[in-house]
């Protein structure tokens, strides 16, 4: 019998479990290239201790970045950070990035911890982001992270793969965030549950690595276990600039078997917005009607890269925020922030009236900073708009959009697209 071709996740899980092949539905034990956690490392190290863990299985594979409550807003969070610093020192974990270096999903690739063809576990649902570089970024929970610290592996069921073909090319003023919002609106919040997603097609190949990160990041919002782009010249160039280590590419075989294939003509996609309170509640901005806003949020792991800040700055150049509107800017990393200062982007944002913050997660999940008041509406480049997500559930609404739409809305005082 001739073996069928394999999809990316089948190949990657085969390799991670030391096998030649991995079949859909099979249970494999995978050892990760990296395991990521953030402020929740305080809770995780507690669980690790209760399990009887003394030394993590391989300190060089553990990655921790402090990003959720940064700088710490109260003594308890500061104490959590202190516990984490003590732990990384005791364990000899050198991949530790303290407050201010940036959001974990930006810091991980920036510092060369993501390469193609590997499994990356993370105690954060947006670990799927790392599929942009052809790695299998798979989210797990805190207890499971502690277990991997102890045992160096965990079990995974090899998932089916959904192929998403992105044809055509993006119109002027339409960015990757609009594309993924459109896709989620079509496929729904559970459309990719338990699946691996692969992005193919002309428009996918033209997308910058940052744009690919936006798509893979949002893959979590379709329920995906993992979301990836095949490696190409753009990926290789990005990785060589970063100075990432040696890697092997695991592109899908030509005869790989996909459960479903979706095809989208990106030339048809216009600026989109996800309305409260679900990420798949997507409509074109042009069909939204009049929605006034109080707060605009630009940044986060979804759209906090230099290209995102520049997309917004291009719209804000020479303009001011609408009266009463606040624009919060959360760059995804110190590196991004530094580049934004150097190339004038930060100045444009500040001049327009933006409040530029420490690179951190902040308002995205209502943990610290930028909380909404009852009755307020926010347009945001983040990844979730669930009721109460930004820390207050009384009559608040969060609309998800692209950096350009967020910027244009901040000027108009209501949700509009830049084109």
């Amino acid at each position: 019998m001739i073996d069928m071709g394999m999809t990316m996740i089948e190949k990657i899980l085969a390799r991670a479990s030391g096998a030649d092949r991995a079949e859909v539905g099979e249970i494999v034990f995978a050892s990760p290239y990296r395991i990521l956690s953030h402020d929740n490392s305080a809770a995780i190290l507690g669980i690790f201790g209760k399990m009887g863990g003394e030394k993590v299985w391989d300190p060089s594979r553990v990655f921790i970045a402090l990003d959720h409550a940064v700088p710490p807003p109260d003594a308890k969070k500061a104490q959590n950070h202190r516990m984490i610093r003590k732990f990384v020192s005791e364990q000899g974990i050198s991949n530790f990035y303290d407050c201010g270096v940036g959001i974990c999903h930006q810091v991980l690739p920036e510092h060369g911890h993501v390469v193609p063809g590997v499994v990356i576990f993370g105690s954060d649902s947006h670990t799927t982001t790392h599929g942009a570089l052809g790695a299998a970024g798979i989210p797990i929970g805190r207890t499971e992270t502690a277990s991997v610290w102890a045992l160096g592996e965990t079990w995974l069921r090899v998932p089916q793969t959904i192929k998403i073909v992105l044809d055509g090319q993006l119109r002027e003023g339409v960015s990757p965030k609009d594309v993924i919002l459109y896709i989620i609106g079509e496929i729904t919040a559970e459309g990719a549950t338990y699946k691996s997603v692969e992005f193919h097609g002309h428009a996918a190949r033209k997308m910058s690595v940052g744009g690919r990160m936006t798509l893979c990041n949002m893959g979590a919002e379709m329920g995906a276990k993992v979301a990836m782009f095949p490696v190409d010249e753009l990926t290789r160039t990005w990785l060589s600039v970063i100075g990432a280590g040696r890697y092997e590419e695991y592109g899908p075989d030509d005869d790989a078997v996909y459960e479903t294939v979706f095809t989208f003509d990106c030339s048809e996609i216009t600026p989109q917005v996800a309305k409260p309170h679900k990420v798949d509640n997507v409509v074109p901005v042009s069909e939204l009607g009049d929605v006034g806003i109080d707060v605009a949020l630009l940044g986060t792991c979804t759209n906090g890269r230099l290209e995102d800040l520049m997309e917004a700055a291009a719209v804000l150049e020479g303009k001011k925020l609408a009266p009463g509107v606040r624009l919060l800017v959360y760059p995804a990393s110190k590196k991004v922030l530094g580049e934004a200062y150097d190339n004038g982007t930060a100045k444009t944002l500040l001049t327009a009236g933006a409040q530029i913050a420490v690179p951190a997660c902040g308002p995205c999940l209502g943990a610290y900073g930028g909380i909404l008041a009852p009755g307020e509406v926010c347009v945001s480049t983040a990844n979730r708009n669930f009721k109460g997500r930004m820390g207050c559930k009384e009559d608040t609404g969060i609309y998800l959009a692209s950096p350009a739409t967020v910027a244009a809305s901040a000027v108009a005082g209501r949700i509009v697209s830049a084109v």
Binding site: K50, H68, G141, A150, T193, L365
Partner: protein, 174 residues
């Protein structure tokens, strides 16, 4: 093993982890009792105060979608919920539930039946035979696939924490 309890019918699809356990609590190191007080807070503020040990939650599709936060599972467990029945679960919620040894049961027929009759059924009794894969609601019986394999192994150990502890002890010979 059999479970019997009152049904809490959450008549909605896509109940997400932010409403089950709000983000503002996720970086607090709460005790189980404190966590239980916030269970389902942004979906039904009255739930935590009224839920009783052994209650069975019945929900809609894609239950637990959103964040990886494990507390969305633990708060329900500490609040006393014995099992959650839904037509489907978000991948990570299901996995976290196995790891925390909270019974999560995929049974669209039972969930849809309870939701369809919720005015009569709310807080009525349901029974679950975990080994045979049977749910009894009133005079109706429904089937589901019982847990097996790796998931069952972790569950029977009492969750991933005791499972990992045992594995560590056996590998160090202690």
């Amino acid at each position: 093993m059999e479970l019997k309890g009152r049904m809490w019918i959450l008549d909605e699809d896509d109940i997400n982890t932010d409403v089950i356990y709000p983000g503002k609590y996720t970086y607090e190191l709460f005790s189980p009792e404190e966590m239980a007080k916030h269970a389902l807070e942004d979906f039904d503020p009255g739930f935590a105060g009224k839920v009783e040990q052994g209650d069975i939650v019945i929900a809609g599709r894609n239950f637990g979608c959103g964040s990886s936060r494990e507390q969305a599972v633990s708060c329900m467990k500490y609040a006393g919920v014995a099992a959650i029945i839904a037509p489907s679960f978000a991948r990570l919620y299901y996995r976290n539930a196995i790891n925390q040894a909270l019974h999560v049961i995929v049974c669209p027929e039972a969930a849809d039946y309870a939701r369809g009759n919720k005015d009569d059924m709310q807080l009525g009794e349901a029974g679950i035979d975990l080994g045979k894969g049977k749910i009894v609601i009133g005079d109706r019986e429904f089937s589901f696939t019982p847990m097996s394999g790796k998931a069952l192994e972790i569950f029977e150990a009492g969750g991933l924490e005791p499972y990992t502890k045992k594995r560590l002890e056996s590998s160090t010979g202690s």
